[in-house]
């Protein structure tokens, strides 16, 4: 199991398009990936779940990946957030 805490730094937060990019990217991984925000938990492969987190600019998210490609998944997540989803 791999974990990573990430702060949302794109201006509009994890709104529809970044959420879509995140889910599309993570669908390629076999690992089960969860996102925790305070007491909320979402399946990172569910766009509804990700949007429901209402992760605005500055939110702290904890990603937990569990599976054969968990390491790669976490690195990819970091890259996505670093690139601010290319926005």
């Amino acid at each position: 199991m791999k974990e990573k805490i990430i702060v949302v730094l794109n201006k509009a937060g994890l709104h529809a398009r970044p959420a879509a990019t995140l889910v599309q990217t993570l669908n390629k991984y076999q690992s089960v990936i969860k996102i925790l925000k305070n007491d909320l938990e979402a399946d990172a492969k569910s766009v509804i779940g990700v949007m429901a987190l209402a992760a605005a600019y500055g939110s702290k998210l904890k990603f937990i990946a569990d599976g054969p490609d968990e390491y790669e998944a976490i690195v990819t997540i970091e890259n996505l957030f670093d690139s601010k989803f290319g926005e």
Partner: protein, 584 residues
Amino acid sequence: MSVDDKDIVLEGIAASAGIAIGKVFLLEENFCFVCKEVPKSFREAEKKRFDDAIEKTRSEFTITYNRINDVLGENYARIADVYLLILDDPTLKKNVYKLITDGINAEYALFKAIDKIIHFFENINDSFFKERKVDIQDVGKKILANLFCKKGKNLIRVDEESIIIANNLTPSDTVSVRGKKIAGFATDIGGKTSHTAIIAQGLAIPAVVGLKNISLLVKAGETIIIDGDKGEVVLNPSSKTLLHYKNKYDLQLSRTVELEKLKNLISETTDNHKIFIFANIDHSDEVPLILNKGAVGIGLYRTETIYFNRDSIPKEQEHFDIYYRVVQEISPYAITIRTFDLGGDKLTKMGLLNLGFESNPSLGLRSIRLCLKYPEIFISQLRAILRVSVLGKVKLMYPMISCLAEVRAANAILNKVKEDLRRENIKFNENMEVGVMIEVPSAGVVIDSIAKEVDFVSIGTNDLIQYMLAVDRVNENVAYLYDPMHPAILRFIKRIVDEGHKARIKVAMCGEMAGEPKYTPVILGMGLDEFSVSPSQIAPIKKIVRSVSFMDCKTIADKVLKLEDSKSILKEIDLFCETRDINT
């Protein structure tokens, strides 16, 4: 018609600017369904029916995606991506399946599953995220329509100059009206950032959303007014109100015509001083948009996006394929390709290089410094740029230059790459112009030396201001100090322009400052040759350029260069604009 004309004003949310006067076209989409018990032996078939509806909806969304992509480009089309993902959402599917397994019919199961999600979203405090529920509702409605095998009312039959009224519009509805002269949109639900609003803005159609119950209040065919600036809709308008809005509409029309006319006009001042207005782009697919906005070239092509979301440093051929498309599309206009401008910290995080920890990445190993240290990254990009240089007017620009030695070192690598290409018999433009971005203050100080060894310079104001004033403008505690009108900045820019001209080279500006109409007269008056701005700013900047005289601009530039604080500088600019009736 009512007994007497009396305005009924509905207040909503201004979603897309402009005034529209037209006849109502009502888009109804109400379904009636009941909760039915499905016998055990039919439940698998019921799931299959649900799956079929999903597949049908998927093909509709794909068509929508392609259509939006054609009309507005990929950025907007990504909206349809969200719809596809909602359609495939594992949680939604699981919940619907579970309800069907319990014996509920597909329609009601879907309704219940969506309703539960909507309820959750309604409890979110952040209105921006709360609004995303509309997307989920839209998808639900589309699936439901396919479960019923019912087609929604087709917008293709809408009359010209109609105002479309609906409970809500999906992006596919919104975009299907393309090519028709729809006057406006008004919907019961939605907010400023709803997808319908974004697309209406893209199509420049006035829209008001969040009107709660307008779809129940209007009758098809009646005349109404949409005020997309104020976010109001006027039903049953009096003749006085109609006249008032008619005048506003005419004014808006002439303004649009004016900006549209500007598209094909050259950017020159009233006393025939010509300057160039180019566009800044990040992606190859932005070229059609900027041409449509009247750009006469690309003054800054940021190549960083090529490095994102990948697991290795891009190869020469990948660079080439991307540049090939951009150069082909922008030709015969010129394009300035800026080489790699990322921080080493980014590459390390992306797993493309391991450069270790940097305590201060913005002053660290980045951009040109990284290219000089790891020439293999630089060389693959330089080879690709040289190879496309024969296909159009291609210029090369180095970012983050801080001293002459760096220019020389970069050029030494460039010359070596050229030699290699000659040896390999690969054609390139021997006279390709090479310039540098002036964004590090030291480069501006020694601009006289640098200008002698390059073909052009472009002032990158965003970083230049940050470095000069020692302000991180993203840091809200000090962002107020980020001030493009700081006398130090203006005097410095003036120096760069003057020294550039002394060396007989062109001086451009590609930072955000170039795209702010308020600053245009001053930087124009300082003698800047080229403005490179974001696509939306091309027409507004051109409008200012065409409404002032170069003489006047020189006078105000000289005047503000003598002032001692930005407050009085801004005051002087406001006075300049006011007396000339310039709207910035």
